[in-house]
C-alpha cells in the first residue's frame, strides 16, 4: 500500500512514517499544502493521511481540491480541533475518516488498514470485518473463504451491522430495514434475529454486542486496543 502523509510537525512525521514503513507500506511525506494538492492527483496513492492545519494551504482546501479533480482514494483527516463543526466540515469535504490529535498509533494503523481494505472492497462491493467477507452483489458471506449459510433476513441484518462495524446500529433502524421483509416486524423480532446471528458468529471471531438503550454493535471479537 502506498500512503501519502501530509503533515508539518516533524516529530509526527518521523513517528508515523516509521510506523507505516514497519507495516511494509510505502510512504510519501509532504509538509506543504500547495505541493500536497498536486501530489494527490498523481493517482499513485492508495490512501492519504491529511493534517488539517497546514502551512500555505489549508488541509480542508487541499481535500476539496482533490475531490473536485476526481481523486477518489480514501483520506483520513488529522485534526487538532475537536469541534464538531470542524469534523463535519471535513467529512463533508470528502474525508473518509478522522482522528483527533493526540491519537494512538495502533488506532491510526487500524483505521488506515480498514480504509485500504474498504477501498479495495468498495471496488468489488464487499464488506469486511475480521475474517468475514460479505459479497454484497452475490449476497454471500464467507469466513476464510468458506461460505456461511444465512437466511435472506439474517443476511440483510448482517449487511446492515457489518456496514457500520464498530458503530452502534439503533434498533429502530434495524426494524425499518427488516420490516420490508415482514410487515409486522417488531423490536422483539430484532432480538430473535440478533440472538441467532450471535450464535452463528461466536466461532467466527465476530461479536454482536447489545448496547442497552442504544442498539447493537458488530465488531471483531478482539478489536484494536482502545
Amino acid at each position: 500500500m502506498r500512503v501519502l502523509l501530509v503533515e508539518d510537525d516533524h516529530a509526527l512525521i518521523v513517528g508515523v512514517r516509521h510506523a507505516l514503513q514497519a507495516e511494509g507500506w510505502r510512504v510519501d511525506v509532504l509538509s506543504c499544502g500547495e505541493q500536497a494538492a498536486h501530489a494527490g492527483l498523481s493517482g499513485e496513492h492508495d490512501v492519504a493521511v491529511l493534517d488539517l492545519g497546514l502551512p500555505r494551504r489549508d488541509g480542508m482546501d487541499v481535500l476539496r481540491h482533490w475531490r473536485s479533480r476526481g481523486a477518489r482514494f480514501p483520506v483520513l483527516m488529522l485534526t487538532a480541533r475537536d469541534q464538531l463543526a470542524d469534523r463535519v466540515a471535513g467529512l463533508d469535504a470528502g474525508a473518509d475518516d478522522y482522528l483527533v490529535k493526540p491519537f494512538d498509533l495502533p488506532e491510526l494503523l487500524a483505521r488506515l488498514r480498514a480504509l485500504g481494505r474498504r477501498a479495495a472492497g468498495r471496488a468489488e462491493n464487499m464488506l469486511l470485518l475480521g475474517e468475514l467477507v460479505l459479497h454484497v452483489n452475490d449476497r454471500e458471506l464467507r469466513h476464510r473463504g468458506e461460505r456461511v449459510a444465512l437466511s435472506p433476513r439474517e443476511l440483510a441484518l448482517t449487511e446492515l451491522l457489518m456496514g457500520k462495524a464498530g458503530r452502534v446500529v439503533p434498533k429502530d433502524q434495524i426494524v425499518a430495514r427488516l420490516s420490508s421483509w415482514e410487515s409486522d416486524f417488531s423490536e422483539n423480532s430484532v432480538e430473535v434475529y440478533v440472538h441467532r446471528l450471535r450464535k452463528r458468529f461466536a466461532e467466527l471471531g465476530v461479536v454482536i454486542r447489545t448496547v442497552r438503550g442504544f442498539g447493537y454493535v458488530m465488531e471483531a471479537a478482539d478489536p484494536a486496543p482502545p
Binding site: A11, V16, P106, L108, G213, F214
Partner: protein, 467 residues
Amino acid sequence: MRGTPAAPPSLTRRLLVPLAWTWLIGLASAAVGAFYLAHDAAQRAFDRSLRDEASALAARVTWSDRGPLLDVSRQTLELLTWDSEDRNGFVMVDIEGTPLAGDGTVPAPRFDPASLQQPLLFDARYQGEPVRGAVFSVTSPMIDRTVSIVVVETTAKRAALVRDVQLAIVAPTVALGLVTFALLGWGVNRGLKPLTRLSGEIGLRELHDWRPLPLQRVPAEALPMVERINDLMLDVQHSVALQRRFVADAAHQLRTPVAGIRVLAQELERELQRAGITPGQPLLAELQASTQRLSRLIGQLLSLAGSETALTMQGEQAPMDVVPLVREATEPLVLQGLRQGRHIELEAPDQPVVALAHPIWLGEVVANLLDNAQRYGGEHIWLRIRPLAGGGAELVVEDDGPGVRPDELPHLFEPFWRGERADLRSDGGTGLGLAIASEIVARLGGTLEAATRPEVDGMRFTVRLAA
C-alpha cells in the same frame, strides 16, 4: 454597587410631583374662594327676600280695639309657610315675646327698637334645625302698642345654592387638573418610552447576550449612554472572539507536539518489540502513561477554556431533543466500557425530550460524567433521560460504586480536586472532568447535582436543563 436605596428616583415622579402640588394648592384656594363667594351671594339674596316677607306681613297688621290683628288670607299664609325645600314659619309677638298669632314655636328674638326702622336678621333654631330669620316691628299709631313680625326659614336652599356655586367653580378645576395630568403623564411616558423599551429589552436578554442595542428612536439625551453601552458590548464580543481564537490556536499548538511525543513513544515500543526486547518495559510503560495523561490533561484544559468562551454568546444554545445527542456523545465511551466488561444502560423515552442545550457542549457534559463513572464508579452504570414536568430535561448518570464521603460532595466540582485519590495518579483522571461538566451546565442555564451513599446506592449525578 453600594447599598441601593429602597426605590430609585423615577423621572416620571420627578416631573409630575411638583406639578401635582401646584395643582393641589390651586384647587384648595379655588374651593375656599368659591365657598366664601357662594356663601356671601346666597346669604344676601335670601336675606333680602326674608326681609321683604317680614315687611309684607307687617304691612298687613291692622289695629282694632282688642289689639293688633293680622289680616292675611289663607292663600298668603300657605304661600308663606309652604316651600318646596325649606320649612318656613312666622309668628307675631308682642314686645314681651308672647305669641299673638301664627306659629308659637317660631323663635322670636328679644325686642330691639332698631327693628322698627327696618327688618333685622338673626340666626336661630326651629324644630331642631338651624334657621335664618327676619324680625320687623310695627307700632300702632293710635294705641301705644308694638308688635313684632318674625319670619324664619330653614337654610336648605342656601346650602344648595352654595353647593351649586362651589361645584360650578371646583368641578371644572378638578376636571382640568385631571385632563392636564393625563396629558402630562402620557407625554412623559411617551418621551420616556424609548428608554423604557430599551431597559425592557435589556431585561429580557439572556445573561450572555452581547449584541448591540438598537439605536433607532432613542432620544438624543440618552444616545451617548446607549452608544457607550454598545461600545462595551462590542468590546466584550471582541475579547470573546479573541479568546476563542486563542483557545483554538492553543489547541492546535499544544496537541500537535503531544501527538508527536505519543506517536514516537508508541513507535519506540513497537520497535523494541520488533527487536525482540520483551514488551511491558517499565520505562516505556511509564512514558506511555505520562503522555496519555498529558494528552488528556491538555484536552480537558482546552475543553474548560473552550466551554467558557463557547457559551458566552447568546443564541448558541437552542431547544433540542437531547436523547440522540446523549446517544451520540456517549457511544464511544459506552462501547469501551462494554468491552471492559461493564454493564452500561441507557434509559430514555421513545418520544423526544426537548431542552435548552448545545450539541457539542451537552455531549461534553454527559461524556465527562460517564467517564467519571467509568473511572471511579461501580460495575453497573445507568444513563437516564426523562422530561421534566414543567418542560426541560433531566439527565442522570448513576453507578453502584463506592461513591464519596458526604463531606466530599461540595468539593466534587472544584478543578483538580480528586479526593483521596490525589496521591494516586495512575487512574488517568485529570480532576477536571466534573469541573468542566459543572461549568458547562451552569452556562447552559441548568443545574448539576451530586448525590452519594447512603442517599443512593453509589454515586449519582443529575443534570437538569431548562426548557
